[in-house]
Symmetry: C2
Subunit: 371 residues, 2 copies
Amino acid sequence: MSISEFSFELKAQNGKARLGKIISPKGNIDTPAFMPVGTQGTVKGLFVDDILKTNTQIILGNTYHLLLRPGTNILEKFNGIHNFMNWHKPILTDSGGYQIMSLSKFNKIDKKLGAIFSSHLDGKKIILSPEKSIKVQKSINSDIIMVLDECPKLTNDKKILSNAIDVSTDWAKRSKIEFGKDKSKALFGIAQGGLYKDLRIESIQKLIEIDFNGYAMGGLAVGEKQSDMFKILNETTDYLPKNKPRYLMGVGTPSDILGAVNEGIDMFDCVMPTRSGRTGLAFTWNGKINLKNSKYQSDKTPLDENCDIRELNKYSKSYLHHLIKSKEMLASMLISLHNIYFYQQFMREIRLSIKNGSFQKFYKKYIYLFD
Amino acid sequence: MSISEFSFELKAQNGKARLGKIISPKGNIDTPAFMPVGTQGTVKGLFVDDILKTNTQIILGNTYHLLLRPGTNILEKFNGIHNFMNWHKPILTDSGGYQIMSLSKFNKIDKKLGAIFSSHLDGKKIILSPEKSIKVQKSINSDIIMVLDECPKLTNDKKILSNAIDVSTDWAKRSKIEFGKDKSKALFGIAQGGLYKDLRIESIQKLIEIDFNGYAMGGLAVGEKQSDMFKILNETTDYLPKNKPRYLMGVGTPSDILGAVNEGIDMFDCVMPTRSGRTGLAFTWNGKINLKNSKYQSDKTPLDENCDIRELNKYSKSYLHHLIKSKEMLASMLISLHNIYFYQQFMREIRLSIKNGSFQKFYKKYIYLFD
């Protein structure tokens, strides 16, 4: 029997750390989960069938990028991005808000109209309203849709943060109305409030009133200290509903993830494993290693002798060092795949430790490994 | 029983077109054969196990590049490039001469010393003698070793071409001595003489006197017209021994290859399928197509619906168009793999047509397809 509705099941808890499962028509997602980023309809440098081999159960797409290129016309011809890119498992799309802030040449927030910006590709003026963001994400045929929010840059200014909550709450309501009643998909709200406990709680409570399928923490991992991020999560995740998935957007290093799981977060996304892959930085159970370093020039050992997908354990650090020094594409391909594999293995070990009641032991062992 | 000696078997002939098989300890090579170029110890953008899936039986490595990086010290630690790059079938290496001419900042030919040049990486002065080239190729553990030759730029100046034959013949003799009696490997001589029949024949005859395991035509595909290349091949391949493989270096488009097979050539190498792959140019049975062209924006058909390696037939031209416009690495990966697959399929059809006695029909059908 195929699943027709999105739902979430909380299976175990270790302190605040949660083991769960998201059930969705396109596939289940074991949480805590890591979502590789497929910005423009591709996880950079990875074949789709290789992403599957890393045990990735969901990837993230960027609405801002996909709206500009290939555009909704093309995506609709394919009935969404799954067929377009040949990935048939769940996809979460962000709302476009974050990229508008960080990438577009000109941008302005108008509570009534939405986010007004110029495309970073051709300068064309575009207005992304909360309703339009939902429509675009539906054209993408995204499985988990995010509301458009105003995500301010790192600031301590309570007025700016408070205003962002006001705008974001209004947009969240409008998004919910536009989203309608499609039970096969999920709509997530996004809490703002910077590093202030009171503002975060206010934002969370307003979102809970609207009622979403999941809740994200926005406006974190924007330059604050890791300890500050962990602190605000510690102070506020208890205010989130227990029976809904919790998503920390844009995070992060393996230790960021571990610390956030320790505070009750279930979902993560980050460009780090693929972006690092392209610069020769590999994540391993012995920490980060920079393959450009000449000490790897004659190192005949692989990054992980137990990783046999695409024969990754047959490539030595010496060869990877050579490829990255030679600016060869295969370096990015091999190291990005390794890193995504490592991240998913790391998540699996986190889940296993929660299941076995040994999360605190795992946490203490690895929290400082990737500093 | 494992094969311990290099040999060549001529199996059929259709006009001048030859069907053959190179037998070597690391694997057999059906001819006419196409060798993908793995300049720096990687065929750009392709996983090694995917190269195997295209039915590639041999790849080419560039001695000049490998000498500079990773260098012979590293390669010797791995007992050669096969283990280093994880490719366990035959490898042919060029002598380094061509890259010295085309890439290095300063170069000079000294008949006694060899080719004197500055590394394009760090400007370091290097002397590559014929003996050193063989030694380096042995450090690479190459299966088919090419003699160092002087390959002049395209010219009609008989004096320059004649002098290049003089130098190249002397170096070929010295290379043969340095190569010694290793029967598990092959040493190929390289004929020069530009577009002059008399010079080519002189060069070929001098090489035959020295006696090589195979003979290459050098100094072609350097800017001359295709018809001129075919003409000089037509006038001279009959002077090459029938029982040895014949290699046309650096060639070419599918029609270059087809025309040269028609003149009795057995082996080819070219960067074209991978270089074109990186710019969005795909080779198909309907000709070359430029995937950057906006007419492919909504084209839901794949490049080749029968090509199921790495699910290539599941990627539409529309998606490839999107990837190449978005400068995504996956575009290069998918199109390069497709092109190598196409080239190998093209070679297989050539071999089949020679076997069936229908080569002329195949030749007439495809010779103008890739102009």
